[in-house]
Amino acid sequence: MVYLAGFHWVWLVISLLLGLAMGWIAVVHRGRGLSRSTARWLSVMILALIVAAVMHVVPGRFGYWLDLGLVMLGVYLVGCAVGSWLRDGVVSRQSSGGSTEHSSGTL
């Protein structure tokens, strides 16, 4: 993993920045989120892919691409989480300062 991180750090940084941006937007986004069932289905699928990667089930290049995809996805999700957390902090501070431009309803 350390080797992958060292070898692909540029791509991982881009993924992280993408995640930060997406996380930042997600807090104030007004569109519909994923339905609960879709989210569950996706989680199961990702979990299955992680298991496949850990168990080295997929051989050769496909195995490498799977590892790469999962690492990039992981970094993206971390970026999203950090981005959302930061944006939420900013929004909360503005709300407590008397602003009403943002409500916490579904966007």
Binding site: H8, A21, A26, G33, A39, W65, L77, C80, A81, D88
Partner: protein
């Protein structure tokens, strides 16, 4: 926390650019990653002794195939590749190098080419053998047909290097090591090469046994007797300087001709060489014109005997006198009889023959020395031409010893010469043996040289 879950439901749009990024990353990094992992795996195997090593990467999976020379080496090599950072999985296609039984290695010396074949136990040994061959056969094409196998005997390398050295002494030939048995065959480049190789093979490492079948160029000794120029020419080889001197001295006693000595000393003479040459030279000394060739263990004598009985004796006696294992080929004819001469010419001819040489006897005895047989044959031939007159055979001694003993000795010696002539087919009534003891010296008896001159047999032709 609830908000966090709500936000996460809205992260999915970023997956689309992420997927594009993933595709780009996969597109651009796969080949460099594979090259990097292959290089690292190869570097990890730098110190491993392996044969036919191939490393290929598919993603982070390494396919590693190689032949190892021991199980430990094999497992260590696989572990080294597995330990390379970034490698996910190693497809282990390694195997142990095949074991050769028997373990055979060969070196073949051809014309302008040397081929190393069979098996070598390790790449480093193989390279050492090739280096040794290149050093020994400078300027000659070295072909490497060796493969790598397990199962070499201990000290194989030392034995093989020694054989490379010995093969370089061959013109053509082949050396084989089969487990602990060494076979060497071929033709030595030089006379004595066979002996030199046999001596060197004694230095093979302990436990190795040798069977060699080395041929050497024929060991040739040649003597040509030319009565026209009065020269005996000796050419070819003799084993050493002592035998060289002995053979030339022996020829000096047997031949009246001037000796041209072109002999060279060399190893490789067959056993009994000097005795055979000395014996064969005696037969040659009986020929008017002739050639003696001793080639290895073959003796060839050709030429013309001086009279019929001499020819028969030469043909019969020479093969009998040679040691077992020697082959003889005699092509001896009899010289046509010369025209008869009158007693005066006859006396001249005897005088010429006895001027330079004397008939030799055993010391203090009346037994003819075999070294004088050539001279006796020439005297016999001359006597055969003297068809008139009586020939007095006169014996003389030096002054050493008792006068009556010398008188008797001179008479007996004269009689021995008459007996020889009669045996050769001349009528006994044509010869008169006379002994003068030491009464008619032709030189002073106070030196060995003078005494030698006085010990003589004279031929006097009476009308």
């Amino acid at each position: 926390m609830r908000g966090f879950f709500r936000w996460s439901g809205k992260w999915w749009p970023g997956i689309i650019p992420l997927t594009v990024l993933w595709g780009l990353a996969a597109w651009t990094t796969t080949a460099p990653l594979e090259a990097d992992l292959s290089a690292q795996a190869a570097a990890a195997l730098k110190d491993s002794v392996l044969d036919k090593t191939t490393i290929s990467a598919a993603g982070r999976d390494i396919t590693f195939s190689a032949d190892a020379f021991s199980e430990q080496e094999r497992s260590n090599a696989v572990a080294s590749v597995e330990a390379v950072p970034g490698v996910r999985r190693v497809n282990d296609r390694t195997a142990l190098v095949a074991e050769a039984k028997p373990f055979v290695w060969t070196i073949e010396r051809g014309v302008g080419k040397v081929t190393l074949g069979g098996s070598a136990p390790l790449p480093v040994v193989r390279n050492k053998l090739l280096d040794a061959a290149r050093a020994r056969f400078a300027g000659i094409d070295i072909a490497d047909r060796m493969d790598l196998k397990r199962g070499a005997s201990p000290r194989f390398e030392a034995a093989a290097i020694l054989l490379i050295g010995e093969t370089s002494k061959l013109k053509t030939g082949k050396a084989t090591i089969s487990d602990l048995t060494v076979n060497l065959s071929g033709m030595a480049r030089e006379l004595g090469g066979r002996e030199a190789i046999a001596a060197a093979l004694k230095n093979l490492p302990e436990g190795y046994s040798v069977a060699d079948d080395i041929q050497a160029p024929p060991y040739v000794f040649e003597a040509n007797k030319d009565p026209v120029s009065g020269v005996l020419t000796l050419t070819g080889y003799v084993p050493d300087n002592a035998i060289h001197a002995a053979i030339v001295a022996s020829a000096g006693r047997k031949f009246g001709e001037k000796i041209v000595d072109k002999l060279k000393a060399s190893l490789g003479a067959p056993a009994g060489f000097d005795a055979v040459v000395t014996r064969a030279l005696r037969s040659l000394s009986r020929l008017s014109t002739g050639r003696l060739v001793v080639s290895d263990r073959n003796v060839e004598l050709s030429g013309d005997a001086l009279y019929d009985l001499a020819g028969k004796q030469i043909r019969a006696d020479l093969p009998k006198d040679l040691p077992r294992g020697w082959e003889t080929k005699t092509d001896v004819s009899v010289k046509p009889s010369a025209s008869p001469v009158d007693p005066t010419v006859c006396q001249q001819l005897f005088g010429e023959l006895l001027e330079r040489r004397t008939i030799q006897f055993e010391a203090g005895q009346a037994t003819l020395l075999l070294d004088s047989i050539g001279l006796l044959d020439q005297l016999t031939e001359t006597a055969l031409r003297c068809q008139t007159g009586i020939i007095e055979i006169v014996g003389h001694t030096d002054s050493d010893g008792d006068a009556s003993f010398n008188q008797t000795l001179s008479e007996r010696r004269a009689q021995a010469v008459v007996d020889f002539l009669v045996k050769a087919g001349l009528p006994p009534n044509r010869f008169t043996p006379i002994g003068h003891g030491s009464t008619q010296p032709i030189a002073a008896n106070d030196t060995d040289e003078g005494k030698a001159k006085n010990r003589r047999i004279d031929f006097i032709v009476r009308q």
